[in-house]
Symmetry: C2
Subunit: 204 residues, 2 copies
């Protein structure tokens, strides 16, 4: 192993420290502040460790964990795009591709390809591992909202139909967890923590 190789690896490790400064819209469960993408990545990786048995198809939990550890690294350059932000969503893919080129590009070639492929697999959400990882990544903000009285939802004008439309694809990774989330969303509407769809609001 050449020391050049180690130096490249350490440079990557230091660079991704910046993910700790990328803020998401969701709040910590105790409501004290918004969470950042690094601590979210840890949390959702732990979720994969504990909930892997609920995947529709058998998954390699270790791969799901690694996928979730790297899934937000591109945000170091591209920032966090709020899931309900349609305008930002359009340019997201291109911004993140450029970010992936630069950040994974800091690594030695073999690891660059390996981590980049893992990130692309997550983004494409076509394999069982990636579909399950994506389901967990969608579920986490719902849990955070439920336990902060729907704070990020209310601050960003998100309604129940938006939550359902956005998270419906969870069922491709885990029908069990999607069922759980649907029940949470209903409860949140009943409690007034999440606004009903505009149509229902007018009819009620």
């Amino acid at each position: 192993m050449s020391s050049d190789r180690l130096r490249e690896q350490i440079r990557f490790i230091l660079e991704i420290d910046k993910l700790k400064g990328v803020l998401r819209r969701t709040y910590l469960v105790d409501g004290t502040r918004r969470e950042n993408s690094a601590e979210h990545s840890w949390h959702v990786a732990m979720m994969a460790t504990v909930l892997a048995e609920h995947a529709n198809e058998p998954v390699d939990a270790g791969r799901v964990v690694r996928m979730l550890l790297v899934h937000d690294i591109v945000e170091v350059d591209a920032g966090d795009t709020f899931v309900y932000d349609t305008a930002g969503g359009e340019s997201k893919a291109e911004r993140e591709r450029i970010a992936a080129d630069r950040i994974f590009g800091l690594l030695p070639p073999d690891q660059r390809s390996e981590l980049r492929a893992l990130w692309e697999e997550f983004e494409a959400a076509r394999t069982p591992d990636a579909r399950f990882a994506a389901a967990l990544d969608r579920m986490m903000p719902v849990l955070h909202n439920i336990h902060t009285g729907g704070r990020a939802w209310r601050e960003n004008g998100v309604t129940a139909d938006m939550v359902i439309a956005r998270n419906r694809r969870m069922a491709e990774g885990s029908r069990t967890l999607w069922e759980y989330v649907r029940n949470l969303v209903e409860t949140a509407v009943e409690r007034g923590h999440l606004a009903p769809p505009p149509e229902r609001g007018r009819d009620a």
Copy 2:
């Protein structure tokens, strides 16, 4: 799968969110604030993914990652014990054991045993996986100090001999990475970011 089981799993996931509020002594690489144990856990897990080839003995990188994801969870109750805090260090084992009982105890019995065993293996640092995981956990604060001009070292009166004594055991997990860290420590002393041992200071 009973829904009781899922409820227990989710309760654990929500409980460990508190790790995001446990502050360490080290600063982010950009120096803006101290880091918390959740984002540190993500960072050191990523480190394991990238540096596994430098372990003395072959390791199961997936197990090392999982070990590092859970290694600080007991701090939700026990708090972060600064590695150079001798008094706190004495009561640490007992405080963390009680914390492990409660927090891993939220999980269904099979997962409680599995994650607890993983944490205990990390703490004992006797297997190749655990020795390597422990080496990475020791290395990370050195990297953070080096890139913030030794800020946490200076704020806490840490001298070069303390850093060497504390981190020497890194060599049991990775001689390559220990060698790298020793060179960093020498450079830090030369640059005045880390105080030399008191004896050397008097003789100089």
